[in-house]
């Protein structure tokens, strides 16, 4: 069995081994914590010229990664917390996302920005955020949220091999999740559609990243409600073929609950409900994350498996 965290490390090994134009750059890549172990010892195996630890400069580092991407490389720029990736927002939103379009097309921008949702443990407001909706708002960015070890590995590989800028967001709450991993077979990121993780008849649960895992757990908890669970690993762009998977399910079950591990305002859950013409959502309350353990438990309660299960039962009148 391989954990989600080990799967990410495996993806790095595969990419660095198979593709000489891949390199990693970011803060903490030589630190003993190795980005939650997801990049352990990479610099020892592949050298510090390809696994580059950097000054405390998110904007310049991300900008440099973009420049290197224009120069023929496939960099993975790592932000061990998405909260810090905010400091590089110009590079991602104004530059990387627009680069191909605003110059009339024709030059690939194979940049992968890996940012991690890393929260809980009383870390507080600036070490807890899930900001995927910010990125998913922007045309030109592909936004990837793996919920399983297989996707954590295969979609990181797909992101790096993609010729467009990709924001790949993994979640530390999933790092211990385990699965059997088949041998690597590269997939085209553009071909990734929402996945029906479990078939059911009473209600459709939809999530991305950690929220998809919570939907699965909730479905396990529910004996009297038959849940269909759909994981959406790529939340931008979402095209007709993606919406059709969700629509078909909702037409069958007649009920849809969208779970998103962040705030609701202008968020992904609202986008799904709008596209489907209905459904309920579970998101975080509109407040910064508290530190106090008790408040923290209360804060995250709405996006936990128990809350998902309870809401599902309510919706089904069970």
């Amino acid at each position: 069995m391989t954990t989600y965290c080990e799967a990410i490390l495996e993806a790095h090994h595969w990419l660095m081994r198979e593709r000489p134009e891949v390199f990693c750059i970011g803060q903490g890549l030589w630190s003993p914590w190795y980005v939650g172990n997801s990049m352990r010892d990479l610099e020892k195996e592949f050298g510090e010229a390809r696994v580059i630890d950097t000054p405390v400069s998110e904007a310049a580092t991300t900008g440099a990664a973009l420049g290197a991407a224009l120069g023929g490389y496939r960099p993975i720029v790592v932000h061990p917390r998405v909260d810090f990736a905010v400091l590089a927002m110009d590079v991602v939103v104004n530059q990387a996302a627009n680069w191909n379009s605003m110059f009339g097309g024709g030059v690939p921008v194979p940049l992968t920005v890996r940012a991690i949702i890393n929260r809980g443990g009383e870390q507080g407001a600036q070490h807890s955020q899930a900001l995927h909706a910010w990125y998913a708002h922007v045309p030109g960015l592909r936004v990837v949220m793996p919920s399983t070890p297989v996707d954590a590995r295969d979609l990181l590989i797909a992101s790096v091999l993609c010729d467009d800028p990709v924001v790949y967001i993994d979640d530390r709450w999933l790092y211990e999740a385990e699965a059997e991993l088949p041998p690597v077979a590269p997939v085209d990121l553009r071909a990734i559609r929402p996945r029906v993780l479990r078939q059911g008849t009473d209600l459709t649960l939809v999530g991305t990243g950690h929220a998809a895992a919570m939907c699965q757990e909730a479905a396990d908890l529910l004996e009297d409600v038959s849940c269909e669970v759909i994981d959406v690993p790529v939340i931008n762009p979402m095209v007709d073929a993606d919406w059709n998977v969700l629509r078909e399910s909702r037409t069958r079950t007649r009920r849809m609950l969208v779970v998103d591990g962040t705030w609701s305002s202008c968020g992904w859950a609202a986008t799904v409900v709008a596209a489907m013409g209905g459904g309920q959502t579970l998101t975080l309350p509109p407040a910064p994350a508290p530190t106090s353990g008790e408040l923290e438990n209360e804060f995250y309660q709405p996006i936990g498996a128990a809350a998902v299960a309870a809401t599902a039962m309510e919706m089904c009148g069970a």
């Binding site: 000054p55 310049a60 580092t61 900008g63 973009l66 110009d90 605003m102 110059f103 097309g105 467009d164």
Partner: protein
Amino acid sequence: MSKPDAARLGALGDASECHEPVDLAGLTAAEAQAMLERMMLIRAVEERIGEAVEAGEVQCPCHLAIGQEAVAVGVARHVQEGDRVFGGHRSHGHFLALGAPVESLFAEVLGKDTGCSRGMGGSMHLRDMGHKFWGSVPIVGATIPIAVGTALAAQMDDSEAIAVSFFGDGATEEGVFHEAMNLAAVKRLPVVFVCENNLFSSHLHVSLRQPADSTCRFAEAHCMPWRRVDGNDVVIMASAMNEAAGHARTGEGPFYLEAVTYRWRGHVGPREDLDVGVKRKDDLAQWKRRDPIARLAAGLGVEPDWAPVRASVAEAWRQAEAAPAPAPRAHLERVFS
């Protein structure tokens, strides 16, 4: 000679100085003539764009660099195959100095499909990879770290290519400028930073924005060699670029050039008197005596012949005007590669 003060422009910042003819300093007349013609082309192109803006023929915001032509042309003289040059909102001159076609610039500001950015960029988003111009964007300072990244790529390639990053004095007030300088210095990346210090960011004089008027102090802070030069003397400009590029190309790391210059027009658009006050009007008259074109012509002992330049510019404009607009929905097909 003692080292100049990294924080003060001194005589270079004084409009009443540096009016003398350019010293060719060993350059052949033909070489100097070629640079003169390139500067005249840039001037004539920008004047034509200015007229078009005034006449309402061009809608996109155009930031003219009239008066600053020597910086672009001097730097371009030492840009080689494989190098990667980046600019900002005021980059027509950078683009043309590298030899990119006038017609593709005109077509771009007119929003035509034959524009260098296929009508997706306008004046502020120019690119011509074939002429080593990798991109200009209007977010101030934004291309500085990107240029540094292309230098990182060149270093990883083990090539002799360098990155050239053009920006203005205003960009040195952006945080990312300092981050990028530090990153380039600590990784010894082959990049030449070219600060066009024209004393103004938009309408605001440097004295109202910074505690000292020279940006070379930032190079000192990042342990980087630097030179401050008369950016209106194309020979001195080229010579400084030769030194800077040689330094970067031979693995010695980044180099910082501050080119002291002045823009004759307002921040945006063709007017000389918009968004600037009376004081600038007096200064401008002085600065016009530092005209890089007139000074080089005087150094060469020639009278600039504008007629053929203007004729070729007029022809390029006609071609651009006749070019087709982008196809409908083209913007929807370029979101991804």
